[in-house]
Amino acid sequence: MRIFLSAILVILPDTLIAATALDGIWVLDGPGTESEILLTEEGERLRIAYDLLEDDPSLYCTPASVARIWANPGSRVEIEQDEEHILISYELFDLRREIPFIKSSIADFPSTKNLEGTEFAQMGSSVAWYEGDRLIIESTNHIHGYIRTSRGIPQGSNTHAREELEVDGDILHITHTYTDESLFEQPLILQYSFNRLENVEIERYNCTDADYDWFIELNLHKEDQT
């Protein structure tokens, strides 16, 4: 019996190649860059009112924004995809961000929750699609938070965010554009890069709230002496 073997040339579409390249575990490479931040009067009001030592959501194991979660040194991020979703697992705060590949509409519930099931609207509601080999994620329905927690750069309910993810070899490049006419005079554009990690896993973070009250009480006797 003759067995005819035929070689079948499979031409993978660019999107499938891109999807394969994006999957994996990544870690931030450096602080990245940001465009000039020009705040409106309302944005400046929120920035001035911000107290770094009290208002940073990170103190309470809460994501301040998507940008803050991406840009955390040393924390691993895992990207996985199937036909219907992209799942981004952030080691920081044990966050899981499930984003559907639906371009037509954005759900009204948050895309991100932690492993305990707590939802975080600070990270908005998102949808994703591919443009060529770039993954695009659009997000709305944010609640008040901070794009930059070191400086109190705010986000709010009118904030729209667009993330563009593109892989170049073992480097993941992300361009993150925030627009919000109530807070910014011009779009805020952040860019960062990530290195691919091999043979590692995402670890359970088990965040502990930063409670300084007990520590402040230890030195209260010093205030009594002044």
């Binding site: 990245g32 860059t33 770094l52 990170s58 840009a71 930059r148």
Partner: protein
């Protein structure tokens, strides 16, 4: 005219290097200080591990200092353990002075026997 407009547009779009956008870096000043004290408590947690020390000055006045460092996860990946910090032992902690009073971001621990402990810093 077109060339001049193009030049202006380019200037506006030049990216600015993100400077200390990480809030950990912003919680601590650039001032380097050293504090000697007795270890009272050690916590290895995420996002920030810490060592509580009790400093007694020459006049007998006691001040508690909270020496903060990187996350438990990062320390584990560095192969570093805070188990070397024994409660009751005397150390000298050196690091960046915190904006919160009597806090410090750890750069180095010096033990009485002359040995030293260096956690790797979180990248800003």
């Amino acid at each position: 005219m077109k060339k001049r407009l193009l030049f202006v547009f380019t200037i506006i779009c030049l990216p600015i290097l993100a400077n200390a956008h990480h809030s950990t870096a912003a919680n601590f000043t650039q001032e380097i200080i050293s504090v000697k004290g007795i270890i009272e408590r050690v916590r290895s947690v995420n996002p920030h591990s810490s060592i509580l020390i009790k400093n007694t000055d020459d006049e007998g006045e006691i001040t508690f200092w909270l020496i903060e460092t990187t996350s438990r996860t990062t320390l584990n990946r560095q192969g570093v353990s805070l188990d070397v910090m024994e409660v009751g032992s005397e150390i000298t902690a050196t690091g960046r002075k915190g904006r919160r009073e009597y806090t410090m971001y750890l750069q180095k621990i010096s033990f009485e026997d002359g040995s030293e402990f260096f956690p790797r810093q979180d990248r800003d």
